[in-house]
C-alpha cells in the first residue's frame, strides 16, 4: 500500500496480547484514516451500549495517509474512542510528531482493548511491542512522564501520555504528546486512564511509501507555495498565533464573556495575540512538516505564575480569560501550562470554572462548597487555584473535573452549563455569528468549533465572505465545512493548511500519494460519509433533534453590550434547512437514499 502502511496493531491489555492485522484496504480507501477509519472501527466493533470507562471500550490512535510525508503540515493523528463526556464517537485531533512516528513504526492504527491489571505503558519500536510496568510514572505530570518514559525506552521516542487528570478519570482529561500538543476534547484521557494505560512510547525506522513520487512532489510543492503566499498560513499565524483572534472576535461583538452572559470584553486587548507576542512569546513553533508554525513557545516571568511551555491558543486565552472575566495574561498562560501538565482540556476546564463562577455569584454555591475560595468572575488567583484542584481531583476540583454540565446539574442549574450535548462550546458567541451556532448545535461531538469552522468565512474573510449576522446560506456553509473538515481530519493533514489550500489540492496530493484517484467530489463525499457515520452512532446513543440545540441563554437572552448588542441566535431559521440539505428527515435522521448514496448501513 502507498500512504497507508497496511498494518494495524491490536493490543489487548487484559490478556497482555499483541496482534498484527492487515489494514482493510476498502475501509482505508473509503474512510482514509484517523477520524474516519477510527470511527468506522468503533462502529463495527463496539456495542453502542458500552460504558465508555469500562474495559470494553476501545481506544484507537490513528494517523492518516498523509501523516509522516512531506505534504504540508502532515503531522496529524487522532485519538478515537467512545467519549465518556457524552457518549459520542470522540475523535480528538493532535499534532506534534507522534503521528508520523506511528507511521514510521509501521502502523495505520493502534487499537487498545481491555484494561491492564496494573498501571502500564506501551513501548512500540517498529515490530517490537512491550507492555511495561508504569508504577514508577503513575501520578506524574505529562512532562515528567515523557522524560521518564524516554529514559526507559529511547531518547528519540515520541510519547503520548495522560497526566493525573486522566488517572482520576476526569471527563475533561486529555492526552498530551511531545509534552505540549493535546488530543484535547471529550475525555479521551479518561478512557486511557480507565485502561490503566499511562503512556505510549513509539519509535520507528520505516518510511511512508508514495505511489507517484513526481506527481506527489509537484502537488506538495504547489500546496506549500499556496500556503506560504496566504497572509494567514504564510505569516499571520507565525507572528501572533491563534490568540490573535481575541481582538477581532471582540470587535465583532462575539467574544463570549463571563460564561456567555455577554459578548464583549472591554479589556480583551490585554489577552490577545499582540499582547502575547509582546510579553510572553519566546518563539513560534511548528509541528512535523509544518511551515505555518502557529505554536507558541512562551514563558511567564511573573513570580506568581512563573512557567515555561507552549500556548496559549485563542480558545485557552478565551476560556480562562474573557469567559472568566479575567484579563491577566500571565495567569491565563499559567492555567494553560497547568492544564498541559495535569492533562486537561483547556476549553472545557475554563468554561467549567466560568460556570462555577456564575453559580457562585448567584449564590447557588458558596465558599463552603468551594473550599473557602471566593470563586467570582475576575478572581484571577481563584481561577488558577481551581485549575490545580481540578488537576489533582481535590476538594471542589473533583466536581470541576467532571465538566460544567454535571457541575451545573448537581446544583440545580443545568441551564448555566454552556454546552451542546454536554461538551463546552468554544470561543465564538452564536448570537453574534449565526453560522457557528448552527455548527455548535449540530456538531457530532457537541460544542466544537473546529469541525465546521464557519468563522473563516463569517468573520475572517478567508477566501469568501458571509455576513455573520444573517442566517441565509448558513446551512449550506456549515455542511460544506463539516464535510470537508471530516475528510481532512481523516487524511492526516492539518486544518490550518486550509489557510492556503482547499479540497482540490488535498484530493490531488492524496491521489498522488496513495495511487487511488480521488476527485474533489469523492473527497467531500468521504467527509459526508464520516459525518453521517458519527450521526448514526449518536442516534443509537439516544440523541435526538431535541439535542441539536443551544443553551437557552443564546436563543433568548440578547448580548448586553458591544457591537452585537441585542442579538440572539436564530437557530430555528437554519436547522430545518440544514436537515433538508443533508438528506435527513425533519427529525434529523439520515434518509435511506442518503445512506445508500454514502454506502452506510
Amino acid at each position: 500500500m502507498y500512504g497507508w502502511t497496511g498494518t494495524i496493531l491490536r493490543i489487548d491489555l487484559t490478556k497482555g496480547k499483541v496482534k498484527r492485522e492487515a489494514t482493510d484496504v476498502k475501509m482505508a480507501h473509503d474512510y482514509l484514516g484517523a477520524r474516519g477509519l477510527g470511527g468506522k472501527i468503533i462502529v463495527d466493533e463496539l456495542d453502542p451500549k458500552t460504558d465508555a470507562l469500562s474495559p470494553d471500550n476501545k481506544l484507537i490512535f490513528a494517523p492518516g495517509p498523509f501523516t509522516g510525508t512531506f505534504a504540508p503540515s502532515a503531522g496529524r493523528y487522532e485519538v478515537i474512542t467512545k467519549g465518556p463526556l457524552n457518549n459520542v464517537i470522540a475523535c480528538s485531533n493532535s499534532g506534534g510528531a507522534f503521528g508520523p512516528e506511528l507511521k514510521y513504526a509501521g502502523y495505520d492504527a493502534l487499537i487498545i482493548e481491555g484494561k491492564a491489571a496494573k498501571p502500564s505503558y506501551l513501548w512500540i519500536s517498529d515490530d517490537k511491542v512491550e507492555i511495561r510496568d508504569a508504577a514508577a510514572i503513575w501520578g506524574h505530570d505529562t512532562p515528567d512522564t515523557t522524560d521518564l518514559v524516554r529514559a526507559e525506552t529511547d531518547e528519540e521516542a515520541k510519547v503520548a501520555c495522560i497526566g493525573p487528570a486522566g488517572e482520576h478519570l476526569s471527563l475533561i482529561a486529555n492526552i498530551m504528546n511531545e509534552m505540549h500538543r493535546a488530543a484535547g476534547r471529550t475525555g479521551v484521557g479518561a478512557v486511557m486512564g480507565s485502561k490503566n494505560l499511562k503512556a505510549i512510547a513509539v519509535y520507528g525506522t520505516g518510511s511512508v511509501q508514495v505511489a507517484d513520487p513526481d506527481r506527489f512532489k509537484a502537488a506538495v510543492m504547489n500546496a506549500r507555495k499556496l500556503i506560504q503566499a496566504h497572509p494567514v498560513g504564510g505569516a499571520g499565524l507565525k507572528a501572533y498565533g491563534t490568540d490573535v483572534l481575541v481582538n477581532i472576535l471582540n470587535q465583532t461583538g462575539a467574544l463570549p464573556t463571563r460564561n456567555f452572559q455577554d459578548g464583549y470584553f472591554p479589556t480583551a486587548d490585554k489577552i490577545g495575540g499582540e499582547s502575547l507576542a509582546a510579553k510572553q512569546l519566546v518563539r513560534p513553533k511548528g509541528c512535523f512538516s509544518c511551515i505555518i508554525s502557529c505554536g507558541r513557545v512562551s514563558k511567564v516571568d511573573n513570580p506568581d505564575y512563573k512557567g515555561f511551555g507552549e500556548g496559549p491558543e485563542y480558545e485557552t486565552a478565551w476560556s480562562f480569560g474573557a469567559d472568566c472575566g479575567i484579563d491577566d495574561l500571565d495567569a491565563i498562560t499559567k492555567a494553560n501550562f497547568l492544564c498541559n501538565e495535569y492533562g486537561m482540556d483547556t476549553i472545557s476546564m475554563g468554561s467549567t470554572i466560568a460556570c462555577a463562577m456564575e453559580l457562585f455569584e448567584m449564590g447557588a454555591i458558596t465558599a463552603k462548597d468551594t473550599d473557602g475560595v471566593q470563586l467570582t468572575f475576575g478572581n484571577t488567583a481563584a481561577m488558577v487555584e481551581m485549575v490545580r484542584k481540578a488537576g489533582k481531583n481535590e476538594g471542589f476540583g473533583a466536581k470541576l473535573a467532571q465538566g460544567s454540565y454535571r457541575l451545573a446539574e448537581s446544583y440545580g442549574h443545568p441551564e448555566l452549563s454552556m454546552t451542546c450535548k454536554k461538551q463546552e462550546m468554544p470561543a465564538y458567541d452564536p448570537r453574534g455569528v449565526q453560522g457557528i451556532g448552527l455548527n455548535y448545535a449540530t456538531g457530532n461531538r457537541g460544542g466544537c468549533h473546529v469541525r465546521g469552522y464557519t468563522i473563516a468565512i463569517e468573520v475572517l474573510q478567508n477566501g469568501a465572505v458571509m455576513d455573520p449576522r444573517v442566517t441565509e446560506g448558513k446551512a449550506g456553509l456549515d455542511i460544506l465545512f463539516q464535510n470537508l473538515t471530516a475528510a481532512l481530519d481523516s487524511s492526516g493533514a492539518c486544518l490550518f493548511s486550509t489557510f492556503g489550500i482547499g479540497g482540490a489540492e488535498l484530493a490531488e496530493m492524496l491521489s498522488a500519494l496513495t495511487g487511488v484517484e480521488y476527485s474533489l467530489d469523492e473527497f467531500l463525499r468521504i467527509g459526508e460519509r464520516i459525518w453521517n457515520q458519527e450521526r448514526l452512532w449518536n442516534l443509537k446513543q439516544g440523541y435526538t433533534t431535541a439535542d441539536d440545540t443551544l443553551p437557552d441563554r443564546l436563543l433568548n437572552d440578547p448580548i448586553k453590550t458591544g457591537p452585537a448588542k441585542g442579538e440572539v441566535s436564530h437557530l430555528d431559521q437554519m436547522l430545518p434547512e440544514y436537515y433538508s440539505l443533508r438528506g435527513w428527515d425533519e427529525k434529523g435522521v439520515p434518509g435511506k437514499a442518503k445512506l445508500k448514496e454514502l454506502a452506510l448501513n
Binding site: P231, V232, A239, Y240, N247, I248, P563
Partner: protein
C-alpha cells in the same frame, strides 16, 4: 471617531488607536488621511490600487464594511473603526 489597529497594522502605525476629530463622510477618505500619516506599508495594507485591499478586514461598529459599501461605507462621528490584517483561525 476612534480608529483601532490590530496585529501587524500596529507595526505600520506605531500605535494601537487614534482619535480622529474631523470625521470624513466615508471610509475611502479616512483611509487616505491615515495612509498619508503612516506611509507606504499602511497604504499597501489597506489599498489595492484604488480598491479596498481584499486582505484587509475593516469593521465599523463591529460590522464589516464589505456589507456597507467598502470604500463608500458611510462614517459618523461616534463610530469605532477597527482595522485588521487577515488573521488566524482556531
Amino acid at each position: 471617531m476612534i480608529v483601532k489597529y490590530f496585529a501587524t497594522i500596529r507595526t505600520y502605525t506605531g500605535e494601537s488607536e487614534r482619535r480622529v476629530d474631523d470625521t470624513p463622510p466615508t471610509l475611502g477618505p479616512l483611509l487616505e488621511t491615515l495612509a498619508a500619516r503612516y506611509g507606504r506599508p499602511f497604504r499597501r495594507a489597506v489599498f489595492a490600487g484604488d480598491e479596498l485591499n481584499p486582505e484587509i478586514i475593516i469593521l465599523v461598529n463591529g460590522r464589516n464594511v464589505l456589507y456597507s459599501g467598502r470604500l463608500e461605507a458611510p462614517l459618523a462621528e461616534d463610530d469605532e473603526v477597527s482595522i485588521f490584517p487577515m488573521v488566524a483561525g482556531g
